[in-house]
Amino acid sequence: MSNLFDLLVAGLATGAIYALVAVGFTLLWQTSQTINFAQGEFVMLPAFLMLAAMHVGAPFWLAIILGILLSMVLLGLAFKMLLVDPMMRHGVLPLAIATMALAIGIKEAVKQFFSAEASPFPSIVPTGDISVFRHAVSLQSIGVLVVAILAVVGLTTLLNRTSLGHQMQAAAQNPTVARIIGVPVERMILLTFLINAFLVALASLLITPIYLAKFSSGEVLGQAAFIAAIVGGFNQVRGAIAGGLLIGVLDNLAASYVSTQYRAAVPMLVLIIVILFRPQGLLGRAEERTV
């Protein structure tokens, strides 16, 4: 039992990070039909920006703020203006391919300008264990969970409880009508890109202390978030959250109960089964099929 409890906590912690990344992924899809194949690299980059800030002498807290701001400029503003805007009218596939190229570009740039080796990254929560229900649970897992839950709650409050959030949803669901009733659709789309950049920077801050900062670490992470988004429901924020937690827990359970060799296969099989039998995702709403 104790083993299962540990696995669940660890799974929920990684799952919460996947959820952050997956939520950003679905936001981009909803507002601009961007399938961002570079989302994993988007998570990898902010950690290096923060490391770079610390290299030039910034204290950790300042490096975090600078890293998040720089991510929002690079991965939010510049990504939208330079790549998505010129390509949006050409349809889903060319833009998806362009983000694949972007993923290669980011990876190579980090390898070239920072390092090809894995670098350690300081944790925002102190390491150590505390006792929960007579189980030792690492503070890091709890810290990750708390920060991720705060971020998700903050985001859903923004989306569902504020006028700004309603405008964003309107812009995503029906841009034409939204424009007619006076929603600044363009600004709302830009806002989702900034939110995505903020979420990936946050995810970067949470996950890098666990897995180290490495140029190639985005591949696995991007794929996990990708699967989480689809399994949960591609067009729903709450679907992406559920999918993230589910994939995180499954991944951890599979590693100890299935086999370490095939642990990566379990999320894939879940993905295939979900797509075949419930393509809109577990919590998604059905999309009308375009003929």
Partner: protein, 332 residues
């Protein structure tokens, strides 16, 4: 490419083929390896172009089929089977697996299909890596022999380059014939308007599966040539990034254009080599070049050419119309 006069086109084709045969004769070992790799990747990209460019089914699994073909060839030739038999086995195997992978395409379309094939790609990689009794696991399979063709040993780089080039020629002719056959037209109908295709009596179900199976079989052929080319295979080259690379080749060259994969593979295989003088920056420059190209022309390089030709034709046609109009007016 219909703007050229026909004899000019034939002359250009013969010149390119002659250059591909003659020029590499004094290439070094590495140059020949890169050119052979171009030929092999072109075959795989042609397969994906059939599935994606002609039939409109997005696949992120072509790299897995190259892997299936490569492992089939490696396992068989190291056990004493001749390469042609191994290629035949690779075709049958990847055709069958591709057919099965086509079933999801009957249920879901577009990005969902991309995700299913992506998952398949990762599963295939895990099998290559973990089933070491069959695939050698992470240590891979080494000492893959190169074949004797008509009694000539192709151990040296130049003869094996000709094996790759010859295979590319055969595949190119077959694909040329296929897309001009009723099947090719059915594929295009599937891409353009599946509902109307169905109402016109095209068995969309069968052709969707066929598009996957044939495209995958070409991936298998490419793999079966890749194994003797490198003479050593391990799971790493067949991971998801190969599928993404092949997809990029098809789109960059021009999806749905016959010559798209040739150009796309040339850019993906040769451009990094030409950029090698920039040392560590070459892949970065490659990525930037791909993004700029796609921003400029989302239909790839041949899309630019196509638009240019179309513009020239309309210009020529409107010039003719103007002449005709003025003649009519003077006649009145």
């Amino acid at each position: 490419m219909s703007g050229f006069a026909k004899p000019l086109k034939i002359a250009l084709g013969i010149a390119v083929i002659a250059a591909l045969i003659v020029v590499p004769m004094n290439f070094n070992r590495y140059g020949l390896f890169i050119l052979s790799q171009w030929a092999v990747m072109t075959i795989a990209a042609m397969g994906l172009n059939l599935t994606l460019g002609y039939a409109g089914q997005v696949s992120l699994a072509q790299g897995a089929f190259v892997g299936i073909g490569a492992y089939a060839a490696a396992i068989m030739t190291t056990h004493g089977w001749p390469l042609p038999a191994a290629i035949a086995a690779a075709i049958v195997l990847s055709f069958a697996v591709g057919w099965v992978l086509g079933y999801p395409a009957l249920r879901v379309q577009h990005h969902y299909l991309a995700f299913v094939t992506l998952a398949f790609s990762t599963l295939a990689f895990l099998v290559f890596r973990n089933e070491s009794w069959l695939t050698g696991g992470i240590y891979g399979i080494s000492n893959i022999p190169r074949p004797h063709i008509f009694g000539i040993a192709t151990n040296k780089p130049l003869p094996f380059y000709y094996v790759c080039l010859g295979s590319l020629a055969i595949v190119s002719l077959a694909v040329w014939w296929l897309i001009r056959s009723p099947w090719g037209r059915a594929f295009i109908a599937l891409r353009e308007n599946p509902l109307r295709a169905q109402s016109l009596g095209v068995d969309t179900r069968r052709y969707t599966l066929m598009a996957f199976a044939i495209g995958s079989a070409l991936g298998g052929i490419a793999g079966a040539l890749y194994a003797p080319l490198t003479q050593y295979i391990d799971p790493v080259p067949f991971n998801l990034s190969l599928s993404l690379d092949l997809l990029m080749m098809v789109i960059v060259g021009g999806a749905g254009f016959y010559f798209g994969p040739f150009l796309g593979a040339m850019i993906a295989v040769l451009l990094p080599e030409w950029l090698r003088f920039t040392e560590g920056y070459y892949l970065m420059l490659y990525a930037i070049a791909v993004m700029l190209l796609l921003i400029w022309s989302p239909t790839g390089i041949l899309g630019i050419l196509d638009r240019y030709m179309a513009a020239r034709r309309t210009k020529a046609a409107s010039a003719l119309r103007a002449v005709a109009k003025s003649r009519l007016e003077t006649a009145q």
